[in-house]
Amino acid sequence: SQTIHQWPATLVQPVGSPLSLECTVEGTSNPNLYWYRQAAGRGLQLLFYSVGIGQISSEVPQNLSASRPQDRQFILSSKKLLLSDSGFYLCAWSVAGLRYGNTIYFGEGSWLTVV
């Protein structure tokens, strides 16, 4: 069966410091991968998605970036965190071909607090 893991689960970082959140998927190949941010009252904001290694689509211009160095690995990064980057970040995956009705599955999430 497929599993998705992301870490760290919680993170407290000072303003201006770098960020790296990592996500891996097991049990499938060539998945679509996603990073979302969940904020109270604002639902899930799609940040990045990837349909293959090195292929990243950015939805919201900001000081975050994403990379996909391997087929089942997706990394969310920042060179310098802002206070407004605080939030709950979710990694997700789906079988390639999401438009054909495939389900998206979420990781456990990572709480980021920028202080």
Partner: protein, 112 residues
């Protein structure tokens, strides 16, 4: 770009009351539609989805949703809610691309 609107931010019901949560989307092409639920302290999980066929979709735990193409709507319903249905509910839409967009969510509180 497609967007999703959920009309209610917080709904409070008593047990056995009927539920309808509104969801509208803006996208002109073929869409797949989803409802996800997040119970307190748990991951998001799929309730039901529509991508073709019968516009009335049955999901888990007695939930159903109806896709009305002319209204760009995909409302979630349950005839009789239970205390255990207390959760946050998210509507999501996916068009021809590989992205999926979510609404702001509706928090449902069911009073015993």
């Amino acid at each position: 770009a497609q967007s999703v609107s959920q009309h209610n931010h917080h709904v409070i019901l008593s047990e056995a009351a009927s539920l309808e949560l509104g969801c509208n989307y803006s996208y002109g092409g073929t869409v797949n539609l989803f409802w996800y639920v997040q119970y307190p302290g748990q991951h998001l999980q799929l309730l039901l989805k529509y991508f073709s066929g019968d516009p009335l979709v049955k999901g888990i735990k007695g939930f159903e949703a109806e896709f009305i193409k002319s209204k760009f709507s995909f409302n979630l319903r349950k005839p009789s809610v239970q205390w255990s249905d207390t959760a946050e509910y998210f509507c999501a839409v996916n068009g021809v691309g590989n992205d999926m967009r979510f609404g702001a969510g509706t928090r449902l509180t069911v009073k015993p």
